[in-house]
């Protein structure tokens, strides 16, 4: 957001450096049930982002003082692997990952029927294998599928995608160059059946008009991802799927 460049991010025909149009998201691949040990798991690629999510639980909550006698708590750990970015990332938890873990867990709370599992913990692990802008959205998209794969009752599945602004154009699903040299980034997650917002952040500089456009694009993108999330689950569990459970 802070960088400057002579690079033209959107050409005069409205085409972006990776050939997409402003309202187009990157290629998406979603696979449910990819890990043997986890109760639920998912693998998501969106553009060059590669993300794994695993769910353990509902299981006994540790540390015990976090237990809630009325419902399960969702504990999320978002982690970027050291080789996921161009300069090696220092391993371990940093402030950014603490914040992302917090807002991801809060977003999931809205759809998971936590009241069914008092005192329990539902642990969600998100590992970023490769990062190319939009990893928190990819992580949440994967985590939702992993929760469904774990058979945890949910009101809906959450898709998440960012919109933003680069070269003065409002764009869906910024890639790394657009994110680095653009003017704004708006990660969004919704409950698709109601369009309620469960995750929203924004940084950069946007007028009301630009922001409204960004939300419109991101809501549309979320609905696209929602279809792919359901397809991934159908592929695993629907007719003709190779479910082993």
């Amino acid at each position: 957001m802070s960088g400057t460049t002579d690079m033209i991010l959107v050409d005069k025909d409205g085409k972006r450096i990776d050939g997409r149009m402003p309202e187009e998201h990157r290629a998406v691949k979603i696979e449910a049930g990819v890990l043997a040990n986890a109760d639920g798991s998912a693998y998501v690629e969106i553009g060059k982002n590669k993300v794994l999510a695993a769910v353990y639980g509902p299981r006994e909550c540790h540390p015990r003082h976090l237990q809630d006698p009325t419902k399960a708590i969702i504990q999320c750990k978002y982690n970027m692997q050291t080789y996921s970015v161009s300069d090696r990332k220092r391993p371990g938890t940093d402030r950014r990952s603490v914040e992302i873990s917090k807002i991801t867990a809060e977003a999931l709370e809205k759809v998971v029927l936590t009241e069914l599992y008092p005192r329990a913990s539902i642990d969600v692990y998100i590992e970023i294998l490769q990062a190319n802008a939009g990893t928190r959205c990819a992580g949440l998209t994967a985590a939702s599928v992993a929760l469904a794969d774990a058979g945890i009752p949910m009101r809906d599945i959450i898709p998440s995608i960012a919109a933003g602004k680069a070269d003065g154009h409002v764009l869906l699903d910024l890639n790394k160059e657009e994110d680095n040299f653009g003017q704004a980034d708006v990660p969004l997650a919704i409950v698709p059946s109601t369009n309620e917002i469960v995750l929203l952040q924004m940084d950069g500089n946007m007028t009301r008009q630009e922001f409204d456009k960004a939300i419109e694009l991101a809501v549309g993108g979320c609905h696209d991802l929602y279809k792919l999330q359901k397809e991934a689950l159908l592929k695993r569990y629907g007719d003709g799927g190779d479910s082993d459970e």
Partner: protein, 257 residues
């Protein structure tokens, strides 16, 4: 911010009043509590402020010192923001390293200041690639009664706005004011029942299902946002939050002058 439980009777009281658009302290839904502030309270800091929003009280202090720039921004100054929820401020706060709440607070405040370009970082370069001014902005909750996001942002803005680059201390000539370009103001709305209320107090914050912090600049453009809480907000509610944040930003900007 803490896991405090609000009694059913108090919760019902707040919700019942809100049905008529009223609040327990007599405010309207889009009213802030009384804001008081003072700058330059700490002489050993290069900039400082204390802010009260109702009974919520916070301090902010800036220390500015020469340091090495980041490799990818060799001619830009550095801003680092920390927030601490010290046990003095509320019985539910514990000492120890910053938890997720204080990290989120610090990052949301930081984002508003950074993304608004409030500090002209390009003027904080001493020698390209070698030495730049680093601004350490530290925030402390002194008394917690809700809405630390806005109290911390306002205190930060006031401390930075009045901060001095301590050239003399480091033998670099005369002291100069920190280069400021605009005044970012945040306004936080909480969703309580089906109502949206600005500047939630402790009780309102603890029965709210979601919150949205929106930081605007001098032109009323959006510079940072953060949704929090386990609930959701509708697109219509989002739109109302944005309107309220622009109006309140203007009002508070006038108040601090």
């Amino acid at each position: 911010m803490s896991n405090q439980v609000i009694s059913e009777i108090r919760r019902d009281h707040i919700l019942n009043l809100l049905k008529d658009g009223r609040r327990t302290d007599g405010r309207k839904v889009d009213d802030f509590r009384k804001i008081k502030f003072e700058t330059g309270i700490i002489e050993s800091a290069d900039g400082s402020a204390v802010v009260e929003i109702g009974k919520t009280k916070v301090t902010a202090g800036v220390k500015i010192m020469p340091g090495t720039p980041f490799g990818d921004t060799p001619n830009m100054g550095v801003l680092t923001t920390g927030a601490e929820l010290i046990p003095m401020a509320h019985p539910s706060f514990e000492s120890g390293p910053p938890g997720a709440d204080s990290i989120e607070l610090a990052r949301v405040v930081d984002r508003g200041i950074r993304e608004s370009g409030m500090i002209d970082m390009s003027k904080l370069c001493i020698k390209e690639g070698e030495e730049v001014w680093m601004c350490f902005l530290d925030l402390y909750a002194i008394n917690y009664d809700g809405n630390l996001f806005d109290a911390f942002t306002l205190a930060s803005v006031l401390a930075l706005k009045t901060a001095i680059i301590p050239n003399e201390q480091y033998g670099k000539g005369e002291n100069k004011p920190l280069p400021i370009t605009c005044i970012p103001i945040s306004a936080t709305a909480a969703k309580v029942g089906s109502s949206l209320i600005l500047d939630p107090n402790f009780d309102e914050e603890h029965i709210s299902s979601a919150r949205l912090t929106v930081t605007t600049d001098d032109d009323g453009n959006f510079r940072a946002m953060q949704k929090g809480g386990q609930g959701s907000i509708t697109l219509d509610e989002l739109s109302r939050c944005l309107d309220m944040a622009v109006a309140k930003g203007k009002e508070i900007r006038e108040l601090i002058g």
